[in-house]
Symmetry: C2
DNA sequence: AAGTTCGGCAAACGACTGTTTACTGAATGG
DNA sequence: CCATTCAGTAAACAGTCGTTTGCCGAACTT
């Protein structure tokens, strides 16, 4: 890649980082072009060399934010182990992921039902693909023997929804109270244990 | 109440309705005073006779939006019945509630993790009280015999989170595709059945 | 070495913003 | 019936906004 492209990528990164930083306490819909370029150290007009819209910057952030999610889920399911350890590891991975990618996670939580349709749809589509991936992984586990396609999908969605709720809860807990975070870990584990229990006794729909 | 107060209430309502209407495709943080008053048919300055802030209008909407929720939960738990019918009724009540209160529900979904701290905290506090109420109701059911306080709370939160996720899903499904709504009903029922199953086999933490 | 591409800039456009001011006039209370 | 209260108004304040324009100069191509 030439120095030309490299410098352009650098500016693009600066814009994305500036946006992500400003979105810490703001919605995408209330973000301004001038605001972003000011934070990024560029002139307002420079923005349009990279994105036609702020919405487009938003979808770029969505892709970036969810890329790490797929990596995350694999790291949970990669190492085998009993149901109990799997649960503990899953919760821990979520906790750590929120710690390591606060801005991205906050962005997702905030814009999932936010005011920008384009971004909302991008998140939903990606989350759907995510659920499919989880479903495929669940199908490989011995516990899922005899489960219908529909039931697997329903379970995967339950897990994904729970993960999203938990991540959002971590988001608020981590900046509020360190003790609250630990309580959250305990609760999430218990909930997953209960779901896992229901799963073992499932007789099909 | 005098005619004086009555007219003031009417203007206040107009502001709240205008806000709710505009928030259909916008965030609270990107809403403008002028925008709201224009929609409400008032002058910009009139706004300040009712609210100091747009954030305050937001918390007013939170209270309004969640008042109907408490009514809702009671209508589910009021009539007794087997676990199966209770689940079906719960899902149906949520579906209907979203239908009947679209703007309020959308507002809650959008601002729960939105850019206005004051509103976020109001929603979380109210949702916490809601979970406590659900927990108290769960404690009365025979299935909960021997359950610790913590376990009951964890279950209540699981139910509330699931309800919130389901309501948000209905929100998008209802304006997209009527068939998707029915699929959502089926999925939500299955998920609640699975949770209910885990609940019956719970041995305490 | 000359010509072209193109990322970034400053400046200007009209439109819109939140909030304050001094005011009007109808409902209120004595 | 007169004085007061107060919800609502119009006008003005000083900004910020998104977007387009013409231009510069460094990196590419040939």
């Amino acid at each position: 890649m030439g120095a030309r492209q490299a410098q352009k990528q650098q500016s693009r990164r600066a814009l994305l980082d500036a946006g992500l930083h400003l979105l810490a306490d703001q919605n995408l819909a209330s973000l301004g072009v001038r605001e972003v370029t000011r934070e990024a150290g560029l002139s307002p007009a420079a923005f349009y060399r990279h994105f036609p819209d702020l919405a487009e910057l938003g979808v770029a952030l969505v892709e970036e934010s969810l890329a790490s999610l797929h990596v995350m889920i694999r790291s949970v399911l990669a190492e085998a182990g009993g149901a109990e350890e799997l649960i503990d590891r899953a919760v821990e991975v979520i906790r750590q992921h929120v710690r390591d990618h606060r801005p991205h996670v906050r962005f997702l939580a905030r814009e999932r039902h936010g005011g920008v349709r384009q971004v909302r749809e991008a998140i939903d589509a990606e989350l759907g693909r995510f659920a499919a991936e989880v479903g495929a992984a669940l199908a490989l586990q011995p516990v899922s023997k005899g489960w219908s396609e529909q039931d697997l999908r329903m379970l995967a969605e339950l897990y994904v929804d729970h993960m999203v709720s938990t991540a959002a809860a971590f988001l608020e807990a981590q900046e509020a109270d360190p003790a609250r975070e630990q309580r959250l870990v305990v609760t999430a584990r218990l909930q997953l244990r209960l779901i896992s229990l229901g799963r073992r006794h499932w007789q099909g729909s």
